[in-house]
């Protein structure tokens, strides 16, 4: 991809990639938020604040989810395509 003076086609590709990447990130964030909420927050909703336990759980959950995300990313880019 020409960095300084991209041709029309390159630029379009670049925008397309950027949009795809952004959508992927948004999706990642949404799934992460939902998953960690399901795992960490008591559904009885006794109060409107997050308690200390929930806060720690959320931090750790996000960290672990991120690690899983990286692991799988590496696996997919190294091992290649899933069998058809």
């Amino acid at each position: 991809m020409a960095a300084n003076n991209p041709t029309g086609v390159d630029k379009e590709q670049a925008f397309g990639m950027a949009e795809t990447e952004m959508e992927y990130r948004v999706e990642l964030f949404n799934r992460l938020a939902q998953t960690c909420f399901n795992k960490c927050v008591d559904k009885r909703y006794k109060e409107s604040e997050l308690n200390m336990g929930e806060n720690s759980c959320i931090d750790r959950c996000v960290s672990k989810y991120w690690q899983v995300n990286s692991m799988i990313g590496q696996l997919l880019s190294a091992g290649g395509r899933p069998p058809m």
């Binding site: 990130r25 938020a33 960490c40």
Partner: protein, 136 residues
Amino acid sequence: MYVIYQCYEHLATLTIPPAPYCTRATGLNLWVSGKSGPEKGAGMDKNMLAGLDGLPEQDKARMAAMIDHLQLRDSLRMYNSLVERCFNDCVDNFTRKTLQKQEETCVMRCAEKFLKHSMRVGMRFAELNSQAATQE
């Protein structure tokens, strides 16, 4: 606390764009800007987002429009999923047409909790994102 409800009224009337405190709650702002602390000031300067500084004006505008579009879509999606979540968790009784006091309280707490959770996740997400970016 009531800022959050104003945010959803905002979305309910589909006023565009959502106010800064609404987009903050979705975390899209946070990861794109790479900031990990609570946002200060009224809004996000689009030129700071996604490292747009070096680009020509036209491209900046296009990226900014793309980000706006994604933010709006994400806000609306979050709205819908939050409603569904709080409904599923809080409402089980259909002997009456109107919400009971206890159901109302439950829904309020559910919404607030999720929004707070979402902001916290957004902060951590942005931290991890910027860590990953500096490592590459």
